[in-house]
Point group: D2
Chain length 157, copies 4
């Protein structure tokens, strides 16, 4: 029986703990899988930059959140697998993120496919590919490193 967190559980976690990022439900987890997650950035005008392209910080945030969602999904523990905040992953902190901007995205939703490369005792490394919804060419690629509390830690009760 898999206890991987569902997209719904992670979206509920974001709504509770990151209210600032989703006044209009900008960022939505759509899928979780083995060491992976897919997240959508719902387009809105405030994401635009000169030239009619999506802003770099919006892409950074999408990549970072998609990786965080993949970590949350994978590191679920505790009695109730639906609750993200019972996860060590909930305490993950971004320590490094490197992003390459490849093409200018047109106005519209963006999708990030995040995949974890390594889940260590204290460091998790992953990558995220970003593309326009319905397109295949990547608009950006990011790799990120996250620090997590050690397993069996008492930190999270």
């Amino acid at each position: 029986m898999s206890t991987r967190l569902t997209p719904e559980a992670i979206n509920a976690f974001f709504a509770e703990h990151f209210p600032q990022i989703s006044p209009g439900r900008d960022f939505v987890v759509e899928e979780t899988g083995p060491m992976s997650a897919r997240m959508r950035l719902v387009y809105s005008e405030r994401r635009l930059r000169p030239g009619g392209t999506i802003s770099g910080p919006s892409m950074f945030e999408l990549a970072d959140l998609a990786l965080y969602a993949a970590i949350l999904a994978e590191l679920r523990v505790g009695d109730d697998p639906a609750k993200a905040n019972h996860s060590r992953g909930a305490l993950a902190v971004t320590t490094n993120l490197n992003i390459n901007f490849l093409r200018k995205p047109e106005p519209g939703d963006l999708i990030a496919d995040a995949r974890l490369m390594k889940i260590g005792a204290r460091l998790i490394v992953g990558e995220a590919w970003l593309h326009a919804d319905g397109a295949t060419d990547a608009v950006a690629h990011a790799t990120g490193t996250y620090s997590v509390p050690p397993p069996k830690s008492d930190l999270i009760g």
Copy 2:
């Protein structure tokens, strides 16, 4: 006579071309110097993340804008040095940004000190140090690469 762009000219350029980022004047250029610029992120609650810290994407955006401001200031050309949009720098595009998050910033303004390492014919590389206003320890460090049109280009009339 120096024709480096003033902070005022760059802030006016941002207000005109990046209205999305400064509804409440979040990002303000405070100084420009030789291959350098200082930028302030004015604190607001929506910058917060769980634990009462400033969000990573906000720090990414501050670093990116500070580097862009340093490029604008340095690449001014044309008759009127006050006008940033006469600059090749106005067409600079971020191609890579690598950021290390070092410490969690408390709620409050953040300062970014950006410095350009190299101004090539087509690529500009720089770094930005971020710290809390009034503090000395860095909360983040970023290096970024920007693609610019070649000198003597007719692209910008």
Copy 3:
């Protein structure tokens, strides 16, 4: 008719232009494909570091050369597709490389699978996955940016 460079052509190019790196044929291109190349680092004791692991700089070099090989293969031009030095790719210069070390490789050959993400007029971005020969878990992942002369350039005669 494909004019992609063969592994043999690229290995001959390396032997001629990079004699320093292959006194014992350390680095060997094994495959080239669409926007991709596979390269082998032939193990030798001087690659070791304390703890019996392959050195970081060796992995950096393998990733960098594999990406360069993929660029050479893709940017072949001219009458004789076998000749790498007729390619714009031969003038490619690494401008940025970011590498994450994921696991310590045991002594033995390493394989790098390089894949190009974007081939622009002046910048090429790609990634390389490194793993031990015969294994599947990655030991390192790198992303690199390369500057190339513009198409139609007369630089390379």
Copy 4:
């Protein structure tokens, strides 16, 4: 009384534990200071690449070793401050390194000035500036992250 490791102690440590990198004493620590170290890459022909420039992997290795030297110097512990291998720093492992190549160095010695940005309980982050001996313009800039055993660990006896 400072117990920071001396350059001599670190060079002795390298000679003992990294014999592969210094058959001809290629890499030499010249200074150590507060959270910093200076290291020299002694030029030899095998460092060359086409165009008469120092190879990228050589610069990567110099940056990585200089940061490692700064960590060794800073994390000295135990009865005998001269002995690097009594240090937690001796067990530091590079987890990420990002390097920007800025200018092509002429044949000749290279200097790396490494400075640590953060010394955490488990992660150390630093930067290294590389320049030709006697010159001021940087030829490369790197940021690196290192994983170290926690303080008070019994791992190193």
